[in-house]
Symmetry: C2
DNA sequence: TTATTTATGCAAATAATTTGCAATTTTTAA
DNA sequence: TTAAAAATTGCAAATTATTTGCATAAATAA
């Protein structure tokens, strides 16, 4: 069963892949579609499972993600546990995360005023600046236990 | 040749190890001493090489670093390239990094006003909050090339 | 000092990621 | 539209970073 929203996001995935001059394959459509429909970040394995495992090979997920990263469609996150995760890089909704050190739940933090600091970095002579900011803490639920 | 400063930092390493109730071994003194004397972050392999390789086994560096992390003496950094790095956690000099995407040079950024945001995280019910903030850009040198 | 606990070296085991290569799919261009 | 060229995929094997088991050695406690 494909909802209208799901279909729309599949189309968006297709559009993004073409716009970035990547060849349009089933796997890539599925992988990027998955990231558009689900709010990550996800490990490569989670994406692979999420797609149903037989959708494509794990190596293909790695390769596709690498392409998407190069094309700036996806961004890598490191949450401190030794596993890399990826999520769709939505330019219009820049955000950060709050990760519970115990249950690993990832909450979104929409507010960001790091851009003010980026100006300082720019003043030091750097260009093409990005940043990664993650918060770690113990969430209320875990604290109560 | 051991300078006075170097000797002082070795003593500091020793003190820190004892204070944290870790047994005081040659390896641990060397590893923490290295992190006190050199401004990281460093990968486990870099530390191992830095100490001269025969100083101790690579596995020992991994194990010692894990201990130091638990004792909050050392903090883990992820600079986006798939390798974990570690540096001495100097409570008195909290700072962030600016990493050149090309030459990988790591510059220190002493200024930090993320603590203001931490209050927001606290307000959401999280406790024991820490954060990780890294900037990535192309440094002036690399840009000129 | 001797007993007990803890750490180390070494080699083997894991786990995540990458790669080579033949087969397949996608794109290009006639 | 179709044939040729280019790029991607699956699979298995290779890498790489990290962890672990276990016997030996060193550090701490009594």
């Amino acid at each position: 069963m494909k909802t209208a929203v799901s279909k729309k996001l599949d189309q968006k995935a297709e559009k993004l892949i073409k716009e970035n001059n990547l060849s349009l394959t089933e796997s890539r459509k599925n992988i990027l579609g998955y990231l558009l429909k689900n709010h990550g970040p996800f490990s490569v394995e989670e994406i692979h499972n999420g797609l149903g495992n037989k959708a494509c090979n794990l190596a293909t997920v790695y390769r596709s993600i690498a392409q998407f990263e190069n094309s700036n469609l996806v961004e890598r996150r490191y949450l401190g546990d030794g596993i890399l995760r990826y999520e769709y890089k939505d330019m219009k909704h820049h955000h950060h995360h709050i990760i519970c050190r115990i249950c690993k739940n990832v909450a979104k933090m929409k507010y960001c005023f790091v851009s003010e600091i980026e100006q300082m970095v720019r003043d030091k002579g750097y260009s093409d600046i990005t940043h990664s900011l993650e918060f770690f803490g113990v969430c209320a639920k875990c604290k109560a236990k």
